[in-house]
């Protein structure tokens, strides 16, 4: 262990490890020659590894993603960077129709491509600069979707995604960039063996989340501990394919499940988490009705007053948990 590493530095470490050790890896996307788009997470990579391997692109999300897929079908392991998920929507044909399906429909090679999409919201950025669309993509068979919640996962899941033989969507969140933790030096990670992690053990209620929502869950668990409530916190890490086993085992113990997600509610990740537990456990296993905390089903507003009620907070998680405990 060394000095604490931030989430953003964890991403940078992953890029440096991958570009330094794997000649077949390259990065391609908008803003890679400027710190403006991707912040500290890719700082000076073009200078260290050259602009032939760290490629800035025209404003062409679709062709850039397609080009990465084409290179991945020919021996390379590209990482495509989309500085906002909102703009990545323009690449959806290549992600959903192509990357996710080539292995199955052509009975052959998977595009070993990593697609990095960044959630970048708040600050009155509004409806087209704020979206968390992970549930859309997690719906697609053939596409692996990872959402790191911790600095070490920010690094290790990017390494795992890039070394994986399947197409992987890696979604990081700018609200996590300052989070820091100590971690061992980087090494190879096999994505297919990564499972949800219990970040905090508890006996009264289970919080299940991914990405930034894990921070809310941990903070709420801290607050509840002071009130004598023992909450278990599960970090999903990988949301497709979704492993329900850790959640089920936890709910068997606590009898209470609260799913927390930074996406919308309808057909979302939180509903999927609850379904995965409910369909496996008998009704008697539940001491309270499972609940979910999500964004309201509305586009992100800009006005401060509306934005303040739009994003879930730690206090919100605590309040819902207390209602469940009182049930």
């Amino acid at each position: 262990m060394s000095a604490p590493v931030s989430y953003a530095e964890g991403i940078l470490q992953a890029f440096r490890y991958l570009l330094g050790n794997y000649p077949e890896v390259f990065a391609i996307g908008q803003g890679l020659w400027s710190p403006w788009y991707v912040g500290a997470s890719m700082k000076d990579l073009d200078k260290e590894f050259g602009q032939a391997r760290v490629i800035d692109t025209p404003i062409s999300e679709l062709a850039t993603t397609g080009a990465a897929i084409g290179a991945s079908l020919n021996g390379y392991r590209p990482i495509v960077i989309h500085p906002r998920l909102d703009f990545m929507v323009l690449a959806t044909d290549q992600i959903v129709n192509q990357a996710a399906k080539w292995r199955h429909m052509l009975g052959g090679r998977s595009p070993a491509v990593t697609i990095r999409g960044i959630i970048n919201r708040g600050g009155e950025q509004g409806a087209q600069h704020s979206q968390a669309l992970h549930a859309w993509y997690a719906h697609i068979p053939g596409l692996r979707v990872v959402m790191p919640a911790t600095p070490q996962d920010a690094r290790d899941l990017l390494i795992a995604a890039t070394l994986c033989d399947d197409p992987v969507l890696y979604i990081d969140d700018r609200w996590l960039y300052e989070l820091s933790a100590e971690m061992p030096p980087p090494g190879p990670v096999d994505l297919t063996t990564q499972t949800p992690k219990v970040l905090r053990t508890g006996t009264d209620i289970t919080f299940v989340a991914a990405s930034y929502s894990v921070t809310l869950a941990r903070e709420a668990a801290e607050a509840l501990a002071k009130k004598g409530v023992s909450a278990e916190v599960i970090d999903l890490r990988v949301i497709n394919p979704l492993d329900h086993s850790v959640t089920r085992a936890s709910v068997k113990k606590t009898g209470r499940l609260l799913a927390i997600d930074g996406g919308w509610q309808t057909c979302g990740l939180a509903g999927e988490i609850i379904a995965g537990a409910v369909e496996d456990l008998p009704p008697s296993a539940f001491r309270a009705r499972p609940q979910r905390i999500t964004l309201p089903d509305a586009p992100a507003p800009t006005s401060k007053v509306l934005e303040n009620i739009y994003y879930p907070t730690t206090e919100h998680v605590v309040a819902v948990a207390e209602q469940m405990l009182a049930e």
């Binding site: 679709l62 062709a63 390379y76 044909d93 199955h104 053939g142």
Partner: protein
Amino acid sequence: MEMTDSLRLGPLADPTQFVGSLDIAGYAGDDLKRMLAGMLTIRFAEEAVADLVESGEAVCPCHLGIGQEAIAVGVSSVLRHTDKIFGNHRSHSHYLALGGDLFAMYAEILGRKAGASQGMGGSMHLFAPDVGFCGSVPIVGATIPIAVGAALAAKMDGRGDVAVAYFGDGACEEGVLHESLNMAAIYKLPILFVCENNLYSSHLDIGLRQPTDSVARFAAAHCISHRVVEGNDLIAVAKAAGDLVKAGRESGSPGFLEAVTFRWRGHVGPKEDIDVGVRRKPEILAAWKHRDPVRRLREAMVKTGMLTDAQFEKTCAVIKSAIADAVERARKAPYPETAALLDLVYAPRRNQ
């Protein structure tokens, strides 16, 4: 015939023009015989696909390119197996012209495990990387950026390979073509964009979809060197493709080939689609059938003494026999195991 610097195809789009035998001066008889056999293989193979659709044995959507054979054969004549070629929904010709296996194609169309894509894709999803065919898909324009990425890989590899993207005039109406042309130009990638301009999208005449009928203007807009050729003239296609591919191999520059042609059958399936094709008239189709790429090469070869009628008939018989054999073997081939449904979603775990 080749056109330069015009926004209109003019005589190239007129089926009463270019109906004589081809100018084959400078080409060796063996090469021409091989290319004639290549065109015949595609034509007879697609006629057999049409029969399988008519009989109900083939159920997946089958898009036939009968009448367009000269383009795939001409382009493939300047390619090598390490090149990276991508097709579209109408790609039997691209696959076969590269040497894709007949049996694997029929097995794929009939959904058998021995198919080119393990029976998982059907006619629209062909795959034969051993001969350079890296895949075909029916989302219009989708393989164009993928081919750009294959060209980026070829450039990084530095072995002089090129990528090829086959698409139609309809794909030129997709935004991704323009993104892809731009990226190929700014990154100087070794790729040949081949537009088989058959003057139709599924049912609409190009005149109802674009302000002019020549699509090479899009290459000009992106500073990509381009050629517009009579797509039913095997020699014209091969020469233009050869020049553009040579530039790709030697200097890494992209090229754009617009080959003007016409499909004899409808958008999908064996029918001629006179009824559903807007502006598709029987007399126009008849004229295009006379501008036949096979007949015109055959006549030129007979005229110069390279080929006799008897030799031609024998070649046809040999090819038809091979096709019948491949179809019969495909009919008997087993279907995929049911486990394939889930097993092929993700790559197998390593060390398993």
